[in-house]
Subunit: 251 residues, 2 copies
DNA sequence: CGCTGCATTGAAATATCTCAATCAATGTGG
DNA sequence: CCACATTGATTGAGATATTTCAATGCAGCG
Protein backbone atom coordinates (compact mmCIF):
# COMPACT_ATOMS: atom_id res chain seq x y z
CA UNK A 1 0.00 0.00 0.00
CA UNK A 2 2.03 2.90 -1.29
CA UNK A 3 0.17 5.61 0.62
CA UNK A 4 1.58 4.30 3.88
CA UNK A 5 4.46 6.70 3.59
CA UNK A 6 2.18 9.73 3.67
CA UNK A 7 3.24 11.81 6.69
CA UNK A 8 5.02 8.77 8.05
CA UNK A 9 7.06 9.68 11.10
CA UNK A 10 5.19 12.93 11.58
CA UNK A 11 2.04 11.80 13.31
CA UNK A 12 1.49 10.62 16.82
CA UNK A 13 -1.09 8.18 15.55
CA UNK A 14 -0.71 6.78 12.11
CA UNK A 15 -3.44 6.87 9.56
CA UNK A 16 -6.20 4.36 10.07
CA UNK A 17 -6.72 1.57 7.60
CA UNK A 18 -9.90 3.27 6.50
CA UNK A 19 -8.08 6.51 5.78
CA UNK A 20 -5.31 4.77 3.90
CA UNK A 21 -7.98 3.04 1.92
CA UNK A 22 -9.68 6.29 1.04
CA UNK A 23 -6.44 7.87 0.06
CA UNK A 24 -5.33 5.01 -2.10
CA UNK A 25 -8.67 4.68 -3.81
CA UNK A 26 -8.61 8.36 -4.72
CA UNK A 27 -5.77 7.58 -7.08
CA UNK A 28 -6.70 7.67 -10.70
CA UNK A 29 -3.61 6.04 -12.13
CA UNK A 30 0.04 5.49 -11.48
CA UNK A 31 2.52 7.08 -13.80
CA UNK A 32 6.18 6.34 -14.32
CA UNK A 33 8.19 9.38 -15.26
CA UNK A 34 11.54 9.36 -16.96
CA UNK A 35 14.40 11.26 -15.31
CA UNK A 36 14.54 15.02 -15.75
CA UNK A 37 11.00 15.26 -17.05
CA UNK A 38 8.61 18.05 -16.17
CA UNK A 39 5.47 16.85 -14.47
CA UNK A 40 3.80 20.18 -13.75
CA UNK A 41 4.60 23.41 -15.47
CA UNK A 42 4.35 26.74 -13.74
CA UNK A 43 1.15 28.51 -14.60
CA UNK A 44 -0.73 25.73 -16.34
CA UNK A 45 -4.16 24.85 -15.12
CA UNK A 46 -4.31 21.80 -12.88
CA UNK A 47 -6.91 19.11 -12.49
CA UNK A 48 -4.76 16.65 -10.58
CA UNK A 49 -2.30 16.55 -7.77
CA UNK A 50 0.51 14.04 -7.55
CA UNK A 51 1.67 11.86 -4.72
CA UNK A 52 5.19 10.57 -5.04
CA UNK A 53 5.46 6.81 -4.63
CA UNK A 54 9.07 6.34 -5.60
CA UNK A 55 11.94 8.48 -6.77
CA UNK A 56 12.65 12.16 -6.38
CA UNK A 57 11.02 15.31 -7.68
CA UNK A 58 12.48 18.80 -7.79
CA UNK A 59 10.40 21.92 -7.44
CA UNK A 60 11.87 25.03 -8.97
CA UNK A 61 11.36 28.61 -10.02
CA UNK A 62 13.10 29.99 -13.08
CA UNK A 63 14.40 33.47 -13.60
CA UNK A 64 14.24 35.43 -16.83
CA UNK A 65 17.47 33.98 -18.08
CA UNK A 66 16.26 30.45 -17.49
CA UNK A 67 18.37 29.89 -14.40
CA UNK A 68 16.67 27.60 -11.94
CA UNK A 69 16.28 28.01 -8.23
CA UNK A 70 15.14 24.89 -6.46
CA UNK A 71 12.51 25.61 -3.84
CA UNK A 72 11.91 22.07 -2.72
CA UNK A 73 12.86 18.45 -3.06
CA UNK A 74 10.22 15.76 -2.72
CA UNK A 75 10.73 12.14 -1.84
CA UNK A 76 8.48 9.12 -1.53
CA UNK A 77 5.48 9.87 0.63
CA UNK A 78 5.24 13.53 -0.35
CA UNK A 79 2.53 15.21 -2.29
CA UNK A 80 4.44 17.34 -4.75
CA UNK A 81 1.70 19.83 -5.51
CA UNK A 82 -1.14 19.41 -3.10
CA UNK A 83 -1.46 23.16 -2.89
CA UNK A 84 -2.31 23.06 -6.56
CA UNK A 85 -5.65 21.73 -5.44
CA UNK A 86 -6.53 25.00 -3.81
CA UNK A 87 -4.56 27.29 -6.09
CA UNK A 88 -5.36 25.67 -9.40
CA UNK A 89 -2.15 26.92 -10.94
CA UNK A 90 1.28 26.47 -9.52
CA UNK A 91 3.68 29.34 -9.17
CA UNK A 92 6.56 26.96 -9.80
CA UNK A 93 7.39 23.87 -11.84
CA UNK A 94 7.93 20.28 -10.79
CA UNK A 95 10.40 17.97 -12.47
CA UNK A 96 11.61 14.46 -11.86
CA UNK A 97 15.22 13.92 -10.85
CA UNK A 98 15.43 10.21 -11.45
CA UNK A 99 12.90 7.73 -12.76
CA UNK A 100 9.93 8.36 -10.53
CA UNK A 101 6.59 6.79 -9.89
CA UNK A 102 3.71 9.07 -9.02
CA UNK A 103 0.07 8.55 -8.19
CA UNK A 104 -2.27 10.90 -9.97
CA UNK A 105 -5.07 12.12 -7.73
CA UNK A 106 -7.83 14.10 -9.45
CA UNK A 107 -8.88 17.19 -7.59
CA UNK A 108 -12.45 15.97 -7.66
CA UNK A 109 -11.40 13.00 -5.59
CA UNK A 110 -9.53 15.20 -3.18
CA UNK A 111 -12.67 17.22 -2.76
CA UNK A 112 -14.57 14.06 -1.94
CA UNK A 113 -11.93 13.00 0.53
CA UNK A 114 -11.96 16.32 2.30
CA UNK A 115 -15.69 16.27 2.77
CA UNK A 116 -15.73 12.59 3.61
CA UNK A 117 -13.02 12.70 6.23
CA UNK A 118 -12.31 15.81 8.27
CA UNK A 119 -9.31 14.09 9.71
CA UNK A 120 -7.78 13.50 6.30
CA UNK A 121 -8.61 17.09 5.44
CA UNK A 122 -6.60 18.27 8.40
CA UNK A 123 -3.72 16.03 7.53
CA UNK A 124 -3.62 17.41 4.04
CA UNK A 125 -3.58 20.91 5.38
CA UNK A 126 -0.85 19.88 7.75
CA UNK A 127 1.20 18.45 4.96
CA UNK A 128 1.17 21.79 3.14
CA UNK A 129 2.19 23.48 6.38
CA UNK A 130 5.17 21.20 6.58
CA UNK A 131 6.15 22.41 3.13
CA UNK A 132 5.96 25.96 4.37
CA UNK A 133 8.09 25.14 7.41
CA UNK A 134 10.71 23.64 5.12
CA UNK A 135 10.57 26.68 2.88
CA UNK A 136 11.32 28.87 5.85
CA UNK A 137 14.34 26.83 6.69
CA UNK A 138 15.50 27.10 3.11
CA UNK A 139 15.27 30.87 3.44
CA UNK A 140 17.38 30.66 6.55
CA UNK A 141 19.87 28.41 4.81
CA UNK A 142 20.34 30.81 1.92
CA UNK A 143 20.35 33.90 4.05
CA UNK A 144 22.64 32.86 6.87
CA UNK A 145 24.93 30.05 5.77
CA UNK A 146 27.89 30.00 3.44
CA UNK A 147 28.16 27.61 0.53
CA UNK A 148 29.50 24.72 2.53
CA UNK A 149 26.91 25.21 5.26
CA UNK A 150 24.09 25.37 2.75
CA UNK A 151 25.05 22.09 1.20
CA UNK A 152 25.46 20.47 4.58
CA UNK A 153 22.13 21.80 5.73
CA UNK A 154 20.29 20.62 2.65
CA UNK A 155 21.72 17.15 2.94
CA UNK A 156 20.97 17.04 6.64
CA UNK A 157 17.34 17.88 5.99
CA UNK A 158 17.02 15.23 3.35
CA UNK A 159 18.62 12.63 5.57
CA UNK A 160 16.06 13.31 8.27
CA UNK A 161 13.20 13.16 5.84
CA UNK A 162 14.46 9.95 4.30
CA UNK A 163 14.60 8.49 7.79
CA UNK A 164 10.97 9.29 8.40
CA UNK A 165 10.03 7.06 5.53
CA UNK A 166 12.72 4.47 6.12
CA UNK A 167 14.85 5.19 3.10
CA UNK A 168 18.22 5.94 4.59
CA UNK A 169 20.66 3.19 5.54
CA UNK A 170 23.05 5.46 7.38
CA UNK A 171 25.58 5.61 4.60
CA UNK A 172 24.25 5.70 1.08
CA UNK A 173 22.20 8.75 0.27
CA UNK A 174 19.57 7.55 -2.18
CA UNK A 175 18.84 10.87 -3.91
CA UNK A 176 21.06 11.23 -6.98
CA UNK A 177 21.40 14.99 -6.99
CA UNK A 178 24.20 16.23 -9.20
CA UNK A 179 26.53 19.05 -8.23
CA UNK A 180 24.53 21.23 -10.54
CA UNK A 181 21.39 20.44 -8.53
CA UNK A 182 23.04 21.25 -5.24
CA UNK A 183 24.15 24.50 -6.81
CA UNK A 184 20.62 25.31 -7.92
CA UNK A 185 19.27 24.51 -4.49
CA UNK A 186 21.91 26.46 -2.62
CA UNK A 187 22.12 29.58 -4.73
CA UNK A 188 25.71 29.03 -5.77
CA UNK A 189 27.46 28.17 -9.02
CA UNK A 190 28.24 24.59 -9.97
CA UNK A 191 31.92 25.41 -9.84
CA UNK A 192 31.63 26.61 -6.31
CA UNK A 193 29.52 23.63 -5.36
CA UNK A 194 32.32 21.45 -6.64
CA UNK A 195 34.84 23.24 -4.46
CA UNK A 196 32.60 23.03 -1.45
CA UNK A 197 32.17 19.30 -1.92
CA UNK A 198 35.88 18.90 -2.10
CA UNK A 199 36.23 20.65 1.22
CA UNK A 200 33.54 18.48 2.75
CA UNK A 201 35.32 15.43 1.45
CA UNK A 202 38.64 16.62 2.85
CA UNK A 203 36.97 16.99 6.21
CA UNK A 204 35.90 13.38 5.98
CA UNK A 205 32.24 14.29 6.11
CA UNK A 206 31.01 12.82 2.85
CA UNK A 207 31.96 11.67 -0.59
CA UNK A 208 30.15 12.52 -3.78
CA UNK A 209 30.90 10.51 -6.89
CA UNK A 210 29.95 11.25 -10.41
CA UNK A 211 26.30 10.59 -11.11
CA UNK A 212 25.18 11.81 -7.72
CA UNK A 213 26.29 8.84 -5.66
CA UNK A 214 26.72 10.32 -2.23
CA UNK A 215 28.01 8.61 0.89
CA UNK A 216 27.59 10.14 4.33
CA UNK A 217 30.72 9.39 6.32
CA UNK A 218 30.22 11.57 9.37
CA UNK A 219 26.66 12.62 9.89
CA UNK A 220 27.30 14.28 13.25
CA UNK A 221 29.99 16.47 11.75
CA UNK A 222 27.80 17.23 8.76
CA UNK A 223 25.08 18.55 11.02
CA UNK A 224 27.34 20.43 13.33
CA UNK A 225 28.90 22.19 10.36
CA UNK A 226 25.60 23.93 9.74
CA UNK A 227 24.14 23.83 13.25
CA UNK A 228 21.36 21.69 11.94
CA UNK A 229 18.28 21.48 14.11
CA UNK A 230 15.61 19.35 12.53
CA UNK A 231 12.76 20.35 14.76
CA UNK A 232 11.16 22.28 11.92
CA UNK A 233 10.42 18.95 10.30
CA UNK A 234 7.96 18.22 13.08
CA UNK A 235 9.03 14.65 13.54
CA UNK A 236 8.70 12.73 16.77
CA UNK A 237 11.10 15.13 18.47
CA UNK A 238 10.64 18.28 20.46
CA UNK A 239 8.34 20.12 18.09
CA UNK A 240 5.71 17.62 17.25
CA UNK A 241 2.14 17.36 16.24
CA UNK A 242 1.09 16.75 19.78
CA UNK A 243 -2.52 17.61 20.12
CA UNK A 244 -3.16 17.63 16.46
CA UNK A 245 -5.56 14.79 17.01
CA UNK A 246 -7.70 17.12 19.09
CA UNK A 247 -8.14 19.59 16.37
CA UNK A 248 -11.09 17.98 14.77
CA UNK A 249 -12.77 20.20 12.26
CA UNK A 250 -16.06 18.58 12.98
CA UNK A 251 -15.19 17.04 16.27
CA UNK B 1 -14.92 45.90 10.72
CA UNK B 2 -11.25 45.11 10.88
CA UNK B 3 -11.47 41.64 9.37
CA UNK B 4 -12.42 43.11 6.02
CA UNK B 5 -8.80 43.14 5.00
CA UNK B 6 -8.49 39.37 5.32
CA UNK B 7 -7.49 38.06 1.88
CA UNK B 8 -8.62 41.34 0.41
CA UNK B 9 -7.65 41.54 -3.24
CA UNK B 10 -7.05 37.82 -3.47
CA UNK B 11 -10.56 36.47 -3.87
CA UNK B 12 -12.88 36.59 -6.79
CA UNK B 13 -15.81 36.98 -4.45
CA UNK B 14 -15.27 38.73 -1.21
CA UNK B 15 -16.24 37.25 2.08
CA UNK B 16 -19.94 37.37 2.86
CA UNK B 17 -21.19 39.49 5.69
CA UNK B 18 -21.97 36.33 7.59
CA UNK B 19 -18.43 35.09 7.23
CA UNK B 20 -16.94 38.40 8.26
CA UNK B 21 -19.22 38.28 11.24
CA UNK B 22 -18.07 34.82 12.22
CA UNK B 23 -14.47 35.79 11.84
CA UNK B 24 -14.77 38.93 13.87
CA UNK B 25 -16.72 37.29 16.61
CA UNK B 26 -14.06 34.64 16.98
CA UNK B 27 -11.77 37.32 18.32
CA UNK B 28 -11.14 37.12 22.00
CA UNK B 29 -9.54 40.52 22.50
CA UNK B 30 -7.55 43.14 20.72
CA UNK B 31 -4.02 43.79 21.83
CA UNK B 32 -1.75 46.72 21.17
CA UNK B 33 1.89 45.81 21.00
CA UNK B 34 4.79 48.14 21.42
CA UNK B 35 7.43 48.28 18.68
CA UNK B 36 10.05 45.55 18.59
CA UNK B 37 8.16 43.30 20.95
CA UNK B 38 7.97 39.54 20.59
CA UNK B 39 4.44 38.25 20.23
CA UNK B 40 5.14 34.58 19.70
CA UNK B 41 8.32 32.81 20.60
CA UNK B 42 9.65 29.88 18.67
CA UNK B 43 8.83 26.62 20.33
CA UNK B 44 6.35 27.78 22.95
CA UNK B 45 2.99 26.12 23.10
CA UNK B 46 0.21 28.09 21.45
CA UNK B 47 -3.43 28.47 22.29
CA UNK B 48 -4.14 31.46 20.09
CA UNK B 49 -3.44 32.74 16.65
CA UNK B 50 -3.14 36.41 15.81
CA UNK B 51 -4.66 38.46 13.06
CA UNK B 52 -2.92 41.72 12.32
CA UNK B 53 -5.24 44.70 12.32
CA UNK B 54 -2.70 47.46 12.07
CA UNK B 55 1.04 47.79 11.91
CA UNK B 56 3.74 45.38 10.83
CA UNK B 57 5.03 42.11 12.20
CA UNK B 58 8.28 40.37 11.38
CA UNK B 59 8.68 36.63 11.35
CA UNK B 60 12.18 35.38 11.89
CA UNK B 61 14.45 32.45 12.58
CA UNK B 62 17.58 32.87 14.66
CA UNK B 63 20.86 31.10 14.27
CA UNK B 64 23.08 29.92 17.09
CA UNK B 65 24.84 33.25 17.32
CA UNK B 66 21.57 35.09 17.64
CA UNK B 67 21.63 36.47 14.11
CA UNK B 68 18.17 36.83 12.70
CA UNK B 69 16.89 35.79 9.33
CA UNK B 70 13.52 37.23 8.46
CA UNK B 71 11.26 34.69 6.82
CA UNK B 72 8.22 36.88 6.41
CA UNK B 73 6.71 40.30 6.88
CA UNK B 74 3.07 40.63 7.80
CA UNK B 75 0.85 43.61 7.26
CA UNK B 76 -2.74 44.48 8.12
CA UNK B 77 -5.09 41.72 7.01
CA UNK B 78 -2.62 38.90 7.56
CA UNK B 79 -2.77 36.14 10.08
CA UNK B 80 0.73 36.02 11.46
CA UNK B 81 0.65 32.48 12.77
CA UNK B 82 -2.41 30.71 11.56
CA UNK B 83 -0.34 27.61 10.98
CA UNK B 84 0.25 27.62 14.71
CA UNK B 85 -3.30 26.37 14.98
CA UNK B 86 -2.40 23.10 13.35
CA UNK B 87 1.18 22.88 14.52
CA UNK B 88 0.73 24.02 18.10
CA UNK B 89 4.28 25.27 18.28
CA UNK B 90 5.90 27.61 15.84
CA UNK B 91 9.27 26.91 14.30
CA UNK B 92 9.98 30.64 14.22
CA UNK B 93 9.30 33.78 16.24
CA UNK B 94 7.06 36.73 15.54
CA UNK B 95 7.90 40.27 16.55
CA UNK B 96 6.32 43.65 16.00
CA UNK B 97 8.16 46.21 13.92
CA UNK B 98 6.15 49.26 14.87
CA UNK B 99 3.27 49.74 17.27
CA UNK B 100 0.85 47.09 16.11
CA UNK B 101 -2.70 46.10 16.85
CA UNK B 102 -3.56 42.43 16.72
CA UNK B 103 -6.71 40.42 17.25
CA UNK B 104 -6.25 37.37 19.40
CA UNK B 105 -8.18 34.39 18.12
CA UNK B 106 -8.28 31.34 20.41
CA UNK B 107 -7.68 28.06 18.65
CA UNK B 108 -10.91 26.77 20.07
CA UNK B 109 -12.75 29.44 18.17
CA UNK B 110 -10.89 28.64 14.99
CA UNK B 111 -11.92 25.06 15.42
CA UNK B 112 -15.54 26.16 15.67
CA UNK B 113 -15.20 28.33 12.62
CA UNK B 114 -13.73 25.56 10.59
CA UNK B 115 -16.51 23.18 11.40
CA UNK B 116 -19.16 25.86 11.08
CA UNK B 117 -18.08 27.17 7.71
CA UNK B 118 -16.31 24.97 5.20
CA UNK B 119 -15.81 28.01 3.05
CA UNK B 120 -13.96 29.85 5.78
CA UNK B 121 -11.98 26.70 6.42
CA UNK B 122 -10.85 26.67 2.83
CA UNK B 123 -9.94 30.33 2.94
CA UNK B 124 -7.82 29.78 5.98
CA UNK B 125 -6.02 26.95 4.29
CA UNK B 126 -5.59 29.15 1.28
CA UNK B 127 -4.12 31.92 3.37
CA UNK B 128 -1.42 29.56 4.66
CA UNK B 129 -0.74 28.51 1.08
CA UNK B 130 -0.16 32.11 0.16
CA UNK B 131 2.45 32.24 2.89
CA UNK B 132 4.14 29.25 1.35
CA UNK B 133 4.09 30.84 -2.10
CA UNK B 134 5.74 33.93 -0.67
CA UNK B 135 8.31 31.80 1.09
CA UNK B 136 9.21 30.23 -2.22
CA UNK B 137 9.75 33.59 -3.78
CA UNK B 138 11.94 34.57 -0.86
CA UNK B 139 14.05 31.50 -1.57
CA UNK B 140 14.33 32.60 -5.15
CA UNK B 141 15.22 36.11 -4.11
CA UNK B 142 18.05 34.94 -1.87
CA UNK B 143 19.27 32.31 -4.27
CA UNK B 144 19.26 34.21 -7.54
CA UNK B 145 19.46 37.94 -6.92
CA UNK B 146 22.27 40.14 -5.76
CA UNK B 147 21.95 42.49 -2.83
CA UNK B 148 20.37 45.31 -4.80
CA UNK B 149 17.95 42.95 -6.51
CA UNK B 150 16.95 41.35 -3.23
CA UNK B 151 16.07 44.67 -1.69
CA UNK B 152 14.19 45.75 -4.79
CA UNK B 153 12.32 42.47 -4.89
CA UNK B 154 11.32 42.60 -1.25
CA UNK B 155 10.05 46.14 -1.55
CA UNK B 156 8.19 45.26 -4.74
CA UNK B 157 6.42 42.41 -3.02
CA UNK B 158 5.42 44.57 -0.10
CA UNK B 159 4.14 47.31 -2.39
CA UNK B 160 1.87 44.82 -4.13
CA UNK B 161 0.59 43.44 -0.87
CA UNK B 162 -0.02 46.89 0.54
CA UNK B 163 -2.02 47.65 -2.58
CA UNK B 164 -4.26 44.67 -2.01
CA UNK B 165 -5.36 46.13 1.27
CA UNK B 166 -5.32 49.74 0.15
CA UNK B 167 -2.34 50.90 2.15
CA UNK B 168 -0.02 52.29 -0.49
CA UNK B 169 -0.39 55.80 -1.86
CA UNK B 170 2.09 55.35 -4.68
CA UNK B 171 4.89 57.19 -2.96
CA UNK B 172 5.22 56.72 0.75
CA UNK B 173 5.98 53.20 1.83
CA UNK B 174 4.24 52.75 5.16
CA UNK B 175 6.40 49.99 6.59
CA UNK B 176 9.20 51.50 8.66
CA UNK B 177 11.83 48.83 8.09
CA UNK B 178 15.32 49.91 9.03
CA UNK B 179 18.38 49.12 6.99
CA UNK B 180 19.16 46.48 9.54
CA UNK B 181 15.80 44.84 8.84
CA UNK B 182 16.34 44.85 5.10
CA UNK B 183 19.68 43.26 5.77
CA UNK B 184 18.11 40.56 7.90
CA UNK B 185 15.50 39.89 5.28
CA UNK B 186 17.92 39.82 2.37
CA UNK B 187 20.76 37.83 3.87
CA UNK B 188 23.28 40.65 3.68
CA UNK B 189 25.08 42.81 6.22
CA UNK B 190 23.69 46.16 7.31
CA UNK B 191 26.72 47.84 5.82
CA UNK B 192 26.07 46.31 2.47
CA UNK B 193 22.38 47.13 2.69
CA UNK B 194 23.40 50.72 3.22
CA UNK B 195 25.54 50.69 0.11
CA UNK B 196 22.81 49.05 -1.92
CA UNK B 197 20.32 51.68 -0.85
CA UNK B 198 22.72 54.37 -1.89
CA UNK B 199 22.94 52.83 -5.34
CA UNK B 200 19.18 52.60 -5.56
CA UNK B 201 18.94 56.23 -4.58
CA UNK B 202 21.53 57.22 -7.16
CA UNK B 203 19.46 55.47 -9.78
CA UNK B 204 16.52 57.58 -8.74
CA UNK B 205 14.49 54.54 -7.72
CA UNK B 206 13.81 55.31 -4.08
CA UNK B 207 14.93 57.23 -1.06
CA UNK B 208 15.27 55.84 2.43
CA UNK B 209 15.57 58.26 5.31
CA UNK B 210 16.56 57.52 8.83
CA UNK B 211 13.86 55.82 10.82
CA UNK B 212 12.69 53.74 7.88
CA UNK B 213 10.89 56.46 5.95
CA UNK B 214 10.97 55.15 2.41
CA UNK B 215 9.72 56.88 -0.73
CA UNK B 216 9.23 55.02 -3.97
CA UNK B 217 10.26 57.32 -6.78
CA UNK B 218 10.27 54.96 -9.74
CA UNK B 219 8.28 51.85 -9.14
CA UNK B 220 8.63 50.55 -12.70
CA UNK B 221 12.38 50.78 -12.51
CA UNK B 222 12.36 49.18 -9.07
CA UNK B 223 10.53 46.18 -10.42
CA UNK B 224 12.51 45.86 -13.58
CA UNK B 225 15.72 45.88 -11.55
CA UNK B 226 14.72 42.55 -10.09
CA UNK B 227 12.45 41.25 -12.87
CA UNK B 228 9.60 41.30 -10.42
CA UNK B 229 6.59 39.22 -11.37
CA UNK B 230 3.92 39.38 -8.71
CA UNK B 231 1.80 36.52 -9.96
CA UNK B 232 2.88 34.40 -7.00
CA UNK B 233 0.82 36.68 -4.82
CA UNK B 234 -2.30 35.32 -6.47
CA UNK B 235 -3.96 38.68 -6.84
CA UNK B 236 -6.47 39.54 -9.51
CA UNK B 237 -3.86 38.98 -12.19
CA UNK B 238 -2.87 36.02 -14.28
CA UNK B 239 -2.53 33.45 -11.54
CA UNK B 240 -5.68 33.83 -9.56
CA UNK B 241 -7.99 31.96 -7.36
CA UNK B 242 -10.31 31.22 -10.21
CA UNK B 243 -12.38 28.21 -9.39
CA UNK B 244 -11.55 28.26 -5.77
CA UNK B 245 -15.20 28.85 -5.12
CA UNK B 246 -15.93 25.42 -6.55
CA UNK B 247 -13.74 23.64 -4.13
CA UNK B 248 -16.22 23.22 -1.39
CA UNK B 249 -15.04 20.86 1.26
CA UNK B 250 -18.57 19.83 1.95
CA UNK B 251 -20.16 21.07 -1.22
C1' DC C 1 25.01 68.81 26.59
C1' DG C 2 26.03 64.40 25.98
C1' DC C 3 23.77 59.91 25.21
C1' DT C 4 22.06 56.53 22.05
C1' DG C 5 20.63 54.39 17.98
C1' DC C 6 21.02 54.36 13.36
C1' DA C 7 23.40 55.70 9.03
C1' DT C 8 27.58 56.31 6.44
C1' DT C 9 32.26 55.74 4.86
C1' DG C 10 36.93 53.66 3.95
C1' DA C 11 40.12 50.03 3.47
C1' DA C 12 41.42 45.42 3.65
C1' DA C 13 39.98 40.54 3.86
C1' DT C 14 37.22 36.88 2.15
C1' DA C 15 33.73 34.47 -0.51
C1' DT C 16 31.94 33.64 -4.62
C1' DC C 17 31.65 34.08 -9.64
C1' DT C 18 33.26 33.92 -14.36
C1' DC C 19 35.65 32.16 -18.02
C1' DA C 20 38.18 28.85 -20.04
C1' DA C 21 40.44 24.65 -20.21
C1' DT C 22 40.98 19.79 -19.07
C1' DC C 23 39.57 15.29 -17.43
C1' DA C 24 36.88 11.09 -16.81
C1' DA C 25 33.15 8.11 -17.64
C1' DT C 26 29.70 6.67 -20.67
C1' DG C 27 27.31 5.76 -24.78
C1' DT C 28 26.90 5.62 -29.93
C1' DG C 29 27.70 4.69 -34.70
C1' DG C 30 30.63 2.63 -37.93
C1' DC D 1 36.74 -2.51 -31.15
C1' DC D 2 37.69 2.27 -32.22
C1' DA D 3 36.60 7.22 -32.91
C1' DC D 4 33.89 10.49 -31.35
C1' DA D 5 30.27 13.07 -28.88
C1' DT D 6 28.15 13.98 -24.55
C1' DT D 7 27.72 14.83 -19.85
C1' DG D 8 29.35 15.85 -15.54
C1' DA D 9 33.48 16.84 -12.58
C1' DT D 10 37.64 19.37 -11.76
C1' DT D 11 41.07 22.98 -11.84
C1' DG D 12 43.33 27.64 -12.38
C1' DA D 13 43.46 32.51 -12.59
C1' DG D 14 41.49 36.79 -12.45
C1' DA D 15 37.25 39.63 -11.63
C1' DT D 16 33.53 40.93 -8.70
C1' DA D 17 30.47 40.93 -4.68
C1' DT D 18 30.16 40.95 -0.06
C1' DT D 19 31.97 41.00 4.66
C1' DT D 20 34.59 42.74 8.37
C1' DC D 21 36.41 46.06 11.27
C1' DA D 22 36.84 50.41 12.73
C1' DA D 23 35.86 55.08 12.59
C1' DT D 24 32.80 59.02 11.89
C1' DG D 25 28.45 61.48 11.24
C1' DC D 26 23.96 62.75 12.56
C1' DA D 27 19.53 63.37 14.73
C1' DG D 28 16.37 62.89 18.53
C1' DC D 29 16.01 62.99 23.35
C1' DG D 30 16.42 63.20 28.44
Amino acid sequence: MFVRKFLLGRLRHELTEDELERLESAVNRIITIEPRTTLVDRGTRLENSYYLIEGTMLRHLDDKRGERQLVGVNIAGDFVDLHGYAMKRLDHSVQSLDRAKVAEVPHIRIKEMLSGSPHLARLMWFSTLLDAAMHREWIFRLGRLNAEGRIAHLISELIERLRFVGLFDGLNFPIPLLQRDYAEACGITPVHANRSFRTLKERGVLELDSGGKLRILDEAELKSLCDFDGSYLYGQGELQLDNFEDLAVNA
